[in-house]
Symmetry: C2
Subunit: 314 residues, 2 copies
């Protein structure tokens, strides 16, 4: 890849409040979540997935999502998204005033059944109903479908690229605004990522707009780089890499936001995020989550002297 092929700017969406916290047994108090949102915003983060409209019985850690959306929507220019598993959740998301909702669709049949008790095609029907519900309400909420387990599945093993592309085509035909590919369990490799993002781009064009990578097996940033090289410029990340993998004690969760921001800054690619403010927030999160397993390399080693000066480092 020559210099002209690198993007000037990349968007990092903070998903720690959802994908990170939902994996922890403890519930972070709402007051601290509000501090998290405010501090991330102050650091320059402009997209935050603040929670999920799943039944509070299933994920009590995220039961305050409505209040988080209400607060986050007071911050000018912040894109506030929530995860939504079904039509009821979509109605709540539209009620909440969120800017966007993320609908997960497992490309793995086995994962889909385990996670949502529905086959991928049954989930497609749900997504159709959610798109229709949006139309009926005249809501402007953005609908993004995240194809989870797109690169493999701990339950099923292999997930065929053809199945991922079939599902992508199907949701695009339903009229969703954006699609993304997620390596939910850390099975992806850079070769596979580059190939699937290239194929997905041909199917989805500019509507392909998110790479979601877990660092479970250490390849998170290498995979993110492969997607970047295939033209992707929007990525999910989780402060301090919280989340982890319940089946692998000590293994990482999502790629760490601060590591992604450092990676981009090291290459002279803007994220709009102030590193020092982000690290101050990370320190707060580490205090709030004392005892949890945190991740991320840059927090241990510190920035190099050579980091290129960019606006974000001013």
């Amino acid at each position: 890849m020559n210099a002209s092929q690198w993007p000037e700017r990349v968007t990092v969406r903070e998903v720690g409040l959802r994908d990170g916290l939902q994996s922890l047994a403890r519930t972070l108090p709402t007051a601290q979540k509000l501090q998290w949102i405010q501090a991330a915003y102050d650091a320059g983060v402009r997209e935050i997935e603040v929670g999920s409209f799943v039944p509070p019985k299933l994920l009590p850690q995220l039961a305050d999502t409505h209040d988080l959306v209400a607060f986050a929507k007071t911050l000018p220019g912040l894109c506030v998204t929530v995860l939504v598993p079904n039509l009821k959740g979509a109605e709540r998301a539209m009620d909440s005033g969120a800017d966007g909702m993320l609908l997960p669709l497992s490309a793995s049949h086995a994962h889909s059944l385990a996670n949502l008790r529905k086959t991928p095609d049954e989930v497609l029907a749900d997504i159709a109903a959610m798109v229709e519900a949006r139309r009926l309400r005249g809501s402007a909420i953005q609908i993004e479908v995240g194809i989870s387990t797109a690169f493999g599945c701990t339950l099923q093993g292999r997930v065929e690229a053809d199945e991922v592309l079939r599902l992508l085509n199907a949701v695009l035909a339903l009229g969703v605004d954006r699609v993304g590919l997620a390596d939910t369990v850390g099975y992806a490799d850079p070769r596979q990522v580059g190939a699937l993002f290239a194929q997905a781009r041909q199917v989805a064009g500019p509507r392909l707009g998110c790479g979601h990578f877990h660092d479970t097996r250490g390849l998170g940033l290498a995979n993110l780089m492969a997607a970047l090289q295939a033209g992707e410029t929007r990525f999910d990340a989780c402060l301090a890499g919280i989340g982890g993998c319940p089946h692998a004690p000590g293994a990482s969760g999502n790629v760490a936001t601060e590591d992604v921001v450092y990676l981009m800054a090291s290459m002279g690619i803007e994220t709009g995020i102030d590193f020092d403010k982000l690290m101050a927030l990370r320190n707060s999160v580490a205090q709030w989550l004392t005892g949890e397993c945190l991740h991320g390399a840059i927090a241990q080693a510190g920035l190099p002297k050579t980091l290129r000066p960019t606006p974000l480092m001013a």
Copy 2:
């Protein structure tokens, strides 16, 4: 990068016995180092940097290098290399029967002075003397120059690509067999790695033959991927990522051998290394080094179900 551009095979040189152990305060007993060499060989590793001919006073951890070479040379087809800091060390390397010697040359003036008490140009003169010593003895030992701090330096900060290329040209003119680029302190980024490897390839052609990456700031594998994409197919790695950075407690050292082997296997690129045997060795090393900070993601998370069957996994 399309499929045809990926190499079929990559060579991983184990450098844990040198770059890893030299950073630890403890001295691993010779008997365990011999077990390490034997087990790595049995796992399919065919290049091992077994130690360094530096004065034992400076690095007592590596004082048994001569004995390690003697043992390693009994293993058919194993390429046995040693690090050599000066002419005296080169004479000892040639006496030992090692197949190759690695001569470090810091591209950072400040690092060169701190590490060898010589400027890079003074080290060039030493390298000339070592090449001449090899000629006079009629030795067949291979000479590889590793350009250290090629991507930046904790002491000096920036290291200019032009200086790296000047030094590369100079050592190639002296008649060394191979050159490599090392990110000694974990300052490199993938964009920089891709660019410098491409430039170095134009200067050195097939004599460019090693990428040495540290994972200090989490970019080790992303940087290795960038070098791979720029045509490099030979990499140093350190079992369990031992070594670390003395200035950053908990930060990683070299990229972990097992993570590099997993990365390659995940992309269907052969290393000739049996993963199960390598992990059994890692477990032994972890026992021998109880109390040291080990690294590596795959050891925590385990292989995915989907790993492509390749000869190395048979």
